[in-house]
Amino acid sequence: AQSVAQPEDQVNVAEGNPLTVKCTYSVSGNPYLFWYVQYPNRGLQFLLKYITGDNLVKGSYGFEAEFNKSQTSFHLKKPSALVSDSALYFCAVWNDYKLSFGAGTTVTVRA
């Protein structure tokens, strides 16, 4: 079965600094990878996806992610974090018509 792993439970950064949230994947065949964000008491919001094509994918709210096949990674990045980016971030992989999610990474951006 396809799966993803998020090795960090928490990431803390200062506002204005680069933000990276890590994700590695384990799939057979071509991976279809996603990032979602969850704000408190809200559902998940789609940020971006990698299906095929350019390894650098740009998404919502200034986020981007880099697909790296040799390292089996799909890390989420933002060049300059905002306090409002503080939330719970999930990496996910497409797995037989459904998404399988990682455990999530809590991002805290301090002013």
């Binding site: 008491n41 497409w94 037989d96 018509y97 459904k98």
Partner: protein, 114 residues
Amino acid sequence: GAGVSQTPSNKVTEKGKYVELRCDPISGHTALYWYRQSLGQGPEFLIYFQGTGAADDSGLPNDRFFAVRPEGSVSTLKIQRTERGDSAVYLCASSLQGVNSPLHFGNGTRLTVT
């Protein structure tokens, strides 16, 4: 436009009772999903509908859980004889068919079994 709507937003019930959770998907979305999210964990797949039929119910934990989507739109997740371990946030998502169509999630129903 309107997003995925879930009702109620919160439900408190006693152990052993029956509950129904409702999901109203985005109009025109043929695919509908139910997930369960426990505190500190990622969403866990329960069931997937394509139209009216359950295409994959492999995530339902046991026969106390059942879901329907009789007209291919609104779906109801039904839990019989609730247990304290059923306490979680139940998320519904809808999409157009296929990997290129992202899942759109509702805000969830927080179920607490006392």
